[in-house]
Symmetry: C2
Subunit: 256 residues, 2 copies
């Protein structure tokens, strides 16, 4: 990776967050804590920027491993922000019951639907809590995004799920840079160096993508040593996922 | 309103839809049918563009009036597309049960949370079905958006709810223009001329917004006779809702 000044970047991000909150008269931040590095680093940034009393983390298990919840607790204990738990397993199951009334489908046909339902239910829950705590406090809580630059470039997120948020502190930093910021903020190593996984597909991200994050980073840094086939694969993923960012919209030639 | 050629506009929209589907090798369209004019007009456009056999409408009641479901049936009968029903009442209630475990909140504090949860659950459901039917057919179904230009300008939609979709056929048309398109497509008058309501807040849209759609239209057409105070109010709503379109994102000065 290129030279990276983690202290400078961290301070710039914190300044950006504080400035946006002050300008818009906001108070708090709420975010899902997955037990992975991105949400841990973002939670650390938000507590530094706003004070630990204004940050709420949420664990959102949905037929999930309890290990992830323990790692989320490790992070909230370390940075001393409030951690709420909303178990979405029953909500998911109730939803599935309604779907079975629609007709006969084969088991395999549900795979993509089920995988992407979870992040969408999580998004709905985090927004629910943000509006609830905003009502309680009489001042607005924002939902904080945790996507990094590598994931965003290849579209590795769920439209209408983790892509929906109100502020994006680490969207301009690659995976390796986010780790550097995490090291500067002393994010516990157990979480910071864990292999990224979506917790949905039983695969680690890099297996699922068929590309290493270090390769996406090399691509973004225009590293000439990167294998041409890998570069092509990254570009294809990027292209195929552009629709997640720009909704094709019919517009008249002469619009009023 | 300005001169408007409904036939020409309708044909252009249909051409746009067909072109996008062909270019991307897509097959079907799925959308929530609320019983209001926007989803009726969009469903009519999609059946004309793709054929009725490739359009699936969904009613998504959630503690809702059965009247809306009847009007949805009227539309699907008229245009002869398949109509599915997924009742989200139990899902909503199961979700609320989980939330009550978090602590004591006052009834009034849930108001905004509850109102916006419904369109988010609906979005998750429509995407669930889109992926399911895509798996069944081996070709992609898109989720179709039904927002019009007036609603979009003042941000009258739920972030992470009805704003999440894959193609937007009427986003460039005002309420009155959508009605003209609906008249050209012979959308049943009971639905086409119904007073728009979100079905969430027990208020019609214009009461809730404090502005008439005809006033937003006059504003967008730069009608000089529009009351200055109303213009200011529209501009304020527009400004306050810009964050729904552009997520504030920290970016480095020198990005890799």
């Amino acid at each position: 990776m290129k030279k990276f000044n983690a202290e400078k970047e961290t301070k710039n991000i914190i300044r950006f967050i504080r400035h946006y909150y002050k300008k818009n008269n906001l108070i708090g931040a709420i975010l899902g804590i997955s037990g992975g590095k991105d949400s841990a680093v973002v939670a650390a940034l938000m507590t530094k920027a706003l004070g630990k009393e204004n940050v709420i983390g949420v664990t959102l298990p949905c037929h999930s491993k309890s290990e992830d919840k323990n790692d989320a607790k490790l992070i909230s204990d370390y940075y001393q922000f409030k951690l709420q738990n909303v178990d979405l397993t029953n909500v998911f199951d109730t939803f599935k019951e309604e779907i079975t009334t629609l007709g006969d489908f084969k088991d395999g046909e549900f795979k993509n639907s089920d995988i992407n339902l979870k992040p969408r239910l999580r998004m709905a829950t985090v927004y629910y809590l943000a509006a609830l705590y905003s009502a309680v406090m009489g001042k607005t809580y924002l939902v904080v995004g945790t996507s990094n630059k590598c994931e965003l470039y290849v579209g590795y997120f769920t439209k209408g799920g983790d892509s929906v948020h109100d502020i994006a502190p680490i969207a301009d930093y690659t995976v390796e840079e986010v780790i550097k910021i995490g090291e500067y903020l002393k994010v516990p190593g157990k979480v910071l160096y864990k292999k990224p996984s979506d917790g949905l597909s039983n695969q680690i991200d890099e297996e699922k993508l068929g590309i290493k994050y270090s390769e996406i980073e090399a691509y973004l840094e225009k590293d000439k040593n990167l294998d041409g086939e890998i570069a092509q694969r990254i570009e294809k993923l990027h292209h195929n996922n552009l629709h997640k960012f720009n909704i094709p919209t019919y517009r008249r030639k002469e619009s009023i």
